[in-house]
C-alpha cells in the first residue's frame, strides 16, 4: 500500500512536470501556433467560400439555362397555341366569310324584292274622271219643279253613283293588291333578318377568337420578353404538369402490371416456364416485351395522329406516309390485343387445370365443384381486359409526353435548389470554421494563462521601473 502511494506520488510529479513542460512549450510557441491556427482556419474558410462562390455561380448558370429552357418550352407551347388558334380562325373565316359574297348577293336580292314590293304597295288608286265636277255643277242647278230637269238630274245622279261604286271597287282591288304585296314582303324581311343575324354571329365568333389570339399573343410577348410573370406562370404550369402527368403515368404502370400478370402465366405455355435469362424467366420477359411493344405501337399511333410530338421524324412525315404508319401501328396493336385476349383465355384454362391437378393430388377430387355456369363471366372478363388494356395503354403517350417535358424543368429546379443549399452550407461552415480559429486561439491562451499572466506582470513592473528611473533622471536634470 505504501508502495502504491509512492508510485502515485511519483506519477503525480511526472504529470505535473509534463504539464509544466507542455505549458512552457505552448507558451514559447504561442506566436507561431496562433499564426498556424489562424492560417489553417483562414485557408479552410477561403476554400469553402471559393467552393460556395463556385456553386453559386454554377447555380446561377443553371438557373439561366433552366430559364432559357423554360422560356423555349413556353415559347414553343405558346406558338403551338397561337398556331392552332389561327388555324381555327382560318377555318372559321374560310367557312363563314367565304359565304359573305353569297350572303351579300342574297341580301341585295331580298332588299330589291322588298323595294319592288314596297313600290307596288305605294301605287295610288286611279283618280275619279274629270267630268264629275261638271256633272256636279249641273246637278246643283235648281229644278223648280221641272220634271224634265228632275229626270235628267236623276239620270246624272244614278250615273254618278254608278261611277263612284266603280271607283270604290277599283280602289278596293288596288288596295287588296297592295296588301298582298306587303304580305309578300314579310318572308323577305325575315330572311334578311336571319342573314343579318348569321352575319352577326359569325363576326362575333371571329371577334371571340381574335380576343383569344390577343391573349395568347400577350402571353407570347411576355415569354419573349422573359418577364418574371411569364417565368412564374411557366414554373407553376410545369410543376402542375409534372405531378398530374406523373399520376397518370403511375396509373398506366398499374395497368401494364395487371396486363403483365394476365399474360405472363400463359406465356410459359408458349416459350416454356423454366428457361431463364439471369434472374428473369423467359416467359416473364416475353410478356413484358409484348406489353412494351404494345406501348410503343400506342406511342406511334398517337404520334401519327399528331396528338403527341415525342418523335419529330414522325410528325415531319408526308401525310400519306403518316396515315400509312397510323394504320400499320393500329393493325399491329389490334393483332397484339387479339393475342392478349387469347392468352387471357389460355390463362383461365391453365388455372383450372392446375386447380384440378392440385385437388387430385390432395385427394379432394370429389370435393372440388366448379361453378361452371359462372365460369364464363371470369373468362369473358379476362379476355375483355386482355383486349382493352393494350388500347387503353395507348393513351399513356399523352401524359408521358407531358411528363418528359416537365421532368426537365423539375429536375433543373431541384438541382438548382440543391446547389444553392450546398453553397449556403459551405458558406456557413466556412464562417463557423473561421470563428472556430478565434475560439481555438482563445482556448490556447487559456491553457497558457499562467505564463501570460506572469509576462504581463513582469512587463508591468519593468514598465513602471523604467518609468521610475526616467522620472529620477529628469529630476536630476532639472
Amino acid at each position: 500500500m505504501p508502495q502504491l502511494s509512492a508510485l502515485t506520488s511519483y506519477q503525480s510529479i511526472y504529470v505535473f512536470i509534463a504539464i509544466v513542460v507542455t505549458i512552457a512549450a505552448l507558451y514559447f510557441s504561442r506566436g507561431p501556433a496562433h499564426a498556424a491556427i489562424r492560417s489553417l482556419t483562414r485557408v479552410i474558410h477561403s476554400a469553402m467560400r471559393l467552393g460556395a462562390a463556385s456553386l453559386f455561380h454554377a447555380e446561377q448558370k443553371l438557373a439561366a439555362r433552366n430559364r432559357e429552357v423554360l422560356l423555349a418550352a413556353g415559347r414553343e407551347a405558346a406558338e403551338q397555341k397561337i398556331e392552332r388558334e389561327f388555324d381555327r380562325m382560318d377555318k372559321s373565316v374560310q367557312r363563314d366569310l367565304a359565304e359573305c359574297p353569297t350572303l351579300q348577293r342574297r341580301m341585295n336580292e331580298q332588299i330589291a324584292r322588298i323595294e319592288e314590293d314596297h313600290q307596288r304597295s305605294t301605287d295610288v288608286p286611279p283618280s275619279p274622271p274629270g267630268w264629275t265636277n261638271a256633272v256636279e255643277a249641273v246637278a246643283n242647278i235648281p229644278s223648280k219643279g221641272d220634271p224634265m230637269v228632275a229626270n235628267i238630274l236623276d239620270k246624272i245622279h244614278e250615273s254618278l253613283v254608278e261611277a263612284q261604286n266603280k271607283a270604290r271597287d277599283a280602289y278596293r282591288a288596288v288596295s287588296k293588291e297592295r296588301h298582298e304585296n306587303l304580305k309578300k314582303m314579310r318572308p323577305n324581311w325575315r330572311a334578311l333578318q336571319h342573314s343579318v343575324d348569321q352575319m352577326d354571329k359569325n363576326v362575333r365568333s371571329l371577334l371571340g377568337r381574335a380576343k383569344t389570339i390577343d391573349r395568347y399573343v400577350e402571353d407570347y410577348e411576355e415569354i419573349q420578353k422573359g418577364s418574371d410573370r411569364a417565368i412564374r406562370n411557366l414554373h407553376s404550369s410545369s410543376l402542375t404538369n409534372f405531378f398530374v402527368s406523373g399520376l397518370f403515368c403511375a396509373i398506366a404502370i398499374g395497368g401494364a402490371f395487371i396486363n403483365f400478370h394476365l399474360i405472363a402465366r400463359p406465356m410459359s405455355e408458349m416459350v416454356g416456364g423454366s428457361n431463364a435469362i439471369g434472374a428473369f424467366r423467359i416467359a416473364d420477359i416475353a410478356a413484358m416485351v409484348i406489353i412494351l411493344v404494345e406501348i410503343s405501337m400506342g406511342l406511334f399511333l398517337m404520334e401519327s395522329l399528331r396528338f403527341t410530338r415525342l418523335f419529330p421524324v414522325i410528325g415531319a412525315l408526308p401525310d400519306k406516309m403518316r396515315v400509312r404508319m397510323l394504320w400499320f401501328a393500329f393493325g399491329l396493336l389490334l393483332c397484339l390485343a387479339t393475342i392478349e385476349a387469347g392468352l387471357a383465355f389460355m390463362r383461365e384454362i391453365l388455372m383450372h387445370d392446375e386447380l384440378a391437378t392440385s385437388a387430385a393430388l390432395r385427394g379432394q377430387t370429389s370435393q372440388v365443384v366448379f361453378a361452371s355456369d359462372f365460369l364464363w363471366i371470369t373468362t369473358v372478363a379476362q379476355m375483355g381486359m386482355g383486349f382493352i388494356l393494350p388500347f387503353a395503354l395507348t393513351f399513356v403517350a399523352i401524359p408521358l409526353e407531358s411528363f418528359v417535358a416537365a421532368t426537365r424543368t423539375v429536375l433543373g429546379l431541384m438541382l438548382q435548389g440543391f446547389l444553392k443549399a450546398l453553397a449556403v452550407c459551405l458558406r456557413v461552415l466556412g464562417s463557423v470554421i473561421y470563428q472556430l480559429g478565434n475560439v481555438l486561439v482563445e482556448i490556447y491562451d487559456l491553457i497558457v494563462f499562467l505564463p501570460l499572466w506572469l509576462e504581463r506582470m513582469i512587463k508591468a513592473n519593468g514598465g513602471s521601473a523604467r518609468k521610475g528611473s526616467k522620472t529620477a533622471t529628469a529630476r536630476e536634470v532639472f
Partner: protein, 216 residues
Amino acid sequence: MKRIISIVALLAVFGLAGCGEPQPTSRGVYMLMDTSGTYTKELKKAQDIINAILTKLDTGDTFAVARIDTGSFSEKDILAKVTFDDRPSMANQEKRRFRDTINQYVKRVRPSRYTDITGGLLQASEFLNEKNTGAKTILIFSDLDEDLKKGHIRDIALALDGFEVVALNVTKLNKDIVDPRIYLERLSRWQAKVESGGGKWKVINDIDRLEQIILN
C-alpha cells in the same frame, strides 16, 4: 453520335457479360422411401408427402422417388422419376401420372429384409448431380435405422456439397422408447455423416406442417 455509339457498345458489353453460362434455377428433389419391416405401414404418409411435393414443384423441376431396400445403390430402386415439361399443362399431366405410379407401387409393396440408407443417399446424390439442378434436396422417409446386409460396404464419405438432406417421419423404435439416447445418437450420427460430406441436415417429424416447410 460518337457518344451514342460508345453507350450502345458499353451496354452490349454488359449485356454479353450477363449472358454467360446460365446458372440452373430448377429444383431437384429425390425422395428415399424406407420399405423395410414394419415401416411399410408408414407409406401412406409417404404418399401424402409425395403429393404435397408434387403440388409445390414447377415446370423444369426434377423429382424422383426411390425405395430403400437391401441394396439401394441402384437405378432399379428408382420407382418414378420425372423432369417436368416446360409447358405447365404438360407438367400437370406428368404430375398426375407420377402420382398414379406411386399409388400403384404402394399397393404392391413388399417389405425388404435390410435397410441400406447410405446406398440410397449415394444414388440420390449421383442422380441429382447428373440432372444439374439448381437446388438439390434429398428427403429420407425412414426411421434412420440402417441395417446392412453382410458384405455390403457403406463406410464411404458422402459428397453432399450443395445438398439439403431432410429426414422425414423419423419414428421411434421400441429400443428408442426404452433408451431415448439411442434415438438421439442415431440422429446425431446421421447429421454428422451428412454435414461431414458438406450437406445441410434437417429433421421434420411434424408431417402436417410439411407442405409449408419443404421447398419454400
